[in-house]
């Protein structure tokens, strides 16, 4: 991926290995990206492609047995590879925060909304209880929760799914973080609530000039929210670039395949056969080399077993990994 000027987050060659029964699971392999303040990067990919692990690796929340390596993992000049548990704790919930898919698992059922909202602020900032409560009410109002002050005494189970997700967002914003990672924040919600929550996230992110990584498997969400897109397959980023370029000129066979799989209202003929990607994701245990998509790829050739070059489209920021210059075997023959 091309360099972003003055990135707040810079990731180079991030690799995650997990020891499993039969050997090593090479779950994430050689990921590169940069993110600037005020930018939204969407990481899109199917389940198991390594999206959540990537975000946990940045937040320093990986299980201890998972081995994390990288050439660079920097947050605003801080080398996260060298940061110890104390340093990471002082960053998390403070300068970088995370929003998870299922708020019920990340909200503590035994504590009130108010306690949980103010916790990070009391921990990281030199503020009193009163100031922390005021800030909590302010943020609950900001995320569109009515009767905010009265919510502070409520417990998570007393709120609907949509309200809990709003509380999670308010909690993530308490300390005015510079980086937010939202992992499938709207996947469990109704489409109507999803639209409201995404609007809220995008508005707040612009207003506060936060850098945001939004992880999703939903191409519609990506198109509407992303500045930059990273398409992930079996632990690798196979295509990255500005949203307009990736959707306008999808190039990697996997990206093109995914876009053919979804019915698009107004475009796809109703009832017509949808595109498919036959086959299954390869095992990432043991020796993993070559293009991970080759077993399912229409364009696969013998060279796909070897080293895969990183290529750029005319727009330099739009990159993809494929042995074919255009992502298509047929175009090469006629060229």
């Amino acid at each position: 991926m091309t360099e972003t000027r003055d990135p707040i987050l810079s990731v180079r060659n991030l690799t995650l290995d997990i020891p499993v029964g039969g050997g090593t699971l090479h779950a994430v392999r050689g990921i590169d990206f940069d993110l600037a303040r005020g930018e939204t990067l969407c990481i899109v990919g199917e389940s198991g492609s390594g999206k959540s692990l990537t975000s946990l690796a940045i937040m320093g929340l990986l299980a201890p047995r998972i081995e994390r390596r990288a050439d660079r993992l920097e947050f605003d000049g801080v080398d996260l590879l060298k940061a110890g548990p104390r340093k990471m704790r002082s960053l998390r919930g403070n300068r970088m925060s995370m929003i998870f898919q299922e708020p019920m698992t990340s909200l503590n059922p035994a504590y009130t909304i108010g306690d949980q909202l103010t916790e990070a602020l009391l921990l990281h900032r030199n503020v009193g209880k009163k100031a922390a409560r005021d800030r909590a009410v302010e943020l609950l109002e900001k995320v569109g929760i009515t009767a905010a002050a009265s919510r502070l005494g409520q417990f998570p189970h007393q709120l609907s799914g949509g309200l809990r997700q709003r509380v999670m967002i308010a909690m993530a914003l308490m300390c005015e973080p510079e980086l937010i990672i939202a992992d499938e924040p709207t996947t469990a919600l109704d489409v109507t609530i999803q639209a409201q929550i995404l609007r809220l996230l995008v508005d707040l992110q612009r207003e506060m000039n936060v850098a945001m990584i939004l992880i999703t498997h939903d191409l519609g969400v990506v198109a509407r929210v992303a500045d930059k897109v990273a398409v992930m397959y079996a632990g690798e980023l196979v295509e990255t670039g500005p949203a307009g370029a990736v959707f306008g000129q999808p190039t990697h066979p996997y990206t093109r395949g995914l876009l053919r799989c979804i019915p698009v209202p107004g475009k796809t003929e109703r009832g017509a056969e949808l595109g498919t990607i036959p086959g299954i994701v390869p095992s990432l245990v043991g020796d993993v080399s070559g293009c991970p998509f080759r077993t399912r790829c229409e364009e696969a050739v013998a060279a796909c077993r070897g080293a895969i070059p990183l290529r750029h489209r005319s727009d330099d920021a739009h990159a993809f990994r494929c042995v074919h210059e255009t992502g298509m075997a047929t175009a090469e023959v006629s060229a």
Partner: protein, 329 residues
């Protein structure tokens, strides 16, 4: 008693009321999960059922499957009331694909046993042909044959959903009740399943009730669509009628929430300010009025009556005048 014009599936004024108690000493309250629903599904048709969570979609599915009895009203399959049909015969005609496969797959049975169970219960074929059928259906739903000896706990959520789909389809039923069948699947698998459901329908004349929160998927697969809000069908129309000219403000809001993959567009503002109402204390008048951007004065006090339109039905005061001049059909 059935002929070509008899709807294969029909609901007549079906209601389902649950009695619930919130807390140990609280008084009992009734929750009207399904409220006077009448619907017909013609043979080979796909009725899409959409609406926010909690509106009653799964309850309706369970009633059709005979897993819940309606409090009032009746369900007819091929013109025969469901209560009167032999349950085993019913099971061969109507099969479910549920939303949450984990709770419906026996954790102690192998995948091959789970999928072939309906064949064994109904005594269809011998062991060899059942084994062959299982392999075929596994291939169709995108699972490798080696999972036959696996157990549900060893599979991913997506794989378990495919097992549930295989189990329903192996009976080649007449009617399939699909309750969010592809919600847990990746899009590349979802499209295979949607294509498969489409193929099977064309080939065997199957009829589906298709419940999904993904409106683009419903638009793609359904022939007719019913929009549900707090247990009531507020609009029912052909796919073209609903997706090209939605009339009910709630249908319109649902459609506006669909995020098509167009990077030139941002996130829409659906103007559905307030949250989904509490079903124990539904709003007076039209249940939708507190969230409706087009509400009229009478909407908060008078419940709208269902009106027949050229293309189906609608329940909304905005269309009251049309009652005077019945739609031409």
């Amino acid at each position: 008693m059935s002929d070509a014009t008899t709807p294969v599936l029909e609901l007549r004024n079906v209601s389902k009321v649950y009695t619930i108690r919130q807390g140990l000493f609280a008084e009992r309250k009734s929750l009207r999960a399904i409220d006077d629903v009448s619907l017909k599904v013609e043979r080979g048709g796909v009725l899409g059922l959409v609406g926010e969570s909690g509106c009653g979609k799964s309850t309706l599915a369970k009633i059709l499957l005979g897993l819940e009895t309606p409090t009032t009203g009746e369900v007819l399959i091929d013109g025969e009331p469901v209560g009167a049909q032999d349950r085993r015969k019913l099971a061969r005609r109507i099969q479910p694909i549920f939303q949450d496969p984990y709770s419906s797959l026996n954790p102690r049975k192998s995948i091959a046993d789970i999928i072939s169970l309906p064949l064994r219960v109904h005594g269809i074929g011998d062991a060899a042909s059942q084994d062959k059928a299982v392999r075929e259906i596994l291939d169709i739903v995108g699972l490798p044959a080696r999972v036959m000896n696996s157990y549900p706990s060893q599979m991913s959520g997506g794989q378990r959903q495919r097992v549930a789909i295989a189990r329903a389809l192996i009976m080649k039923p007449e009617i399939v009740i699909c309750d969010e069948p592809t919600s847990a699947l990746d899009v590349s698998v979802q499209s295979q399943i949607l294509n498969l459901l489409g193929e099977l329908r064309r080939e065997f004349g199957l009829t589906y009730l298709f419940i999904s929160h993904n409106l683009a998927v419903v638009e793609h697969l359904a022939t007719r669509v019913a929009v549900m809000y707090l247990g009531r069908i507020v609009e029912e129309a052909s796919v073209a009628g609903l997706f090209d000219h939605a009339r009910h403000p709630y249908s319109q809001a649902l459609l506006e929430s669909v995020l098509t993959p167009d990077p030139a567009l941002g996130v829409p503002d659906t103007q559905l300010g307030a949250a989904y109402p509490n079903p124990i204390a539904p709003p007076s008048g039209c249940h939708f009025h507190p969230r409706c951007p087009k509400a009229l004065p009478q909407c908060s006090s008078v419940a709208p009556r269902p009106l027949t339109t050229a293309d189906g039905r609608i329940e909304c005061h905005l269309f009251d005048e049309e009652k005077a001049e019945p739609a031409t059909a």
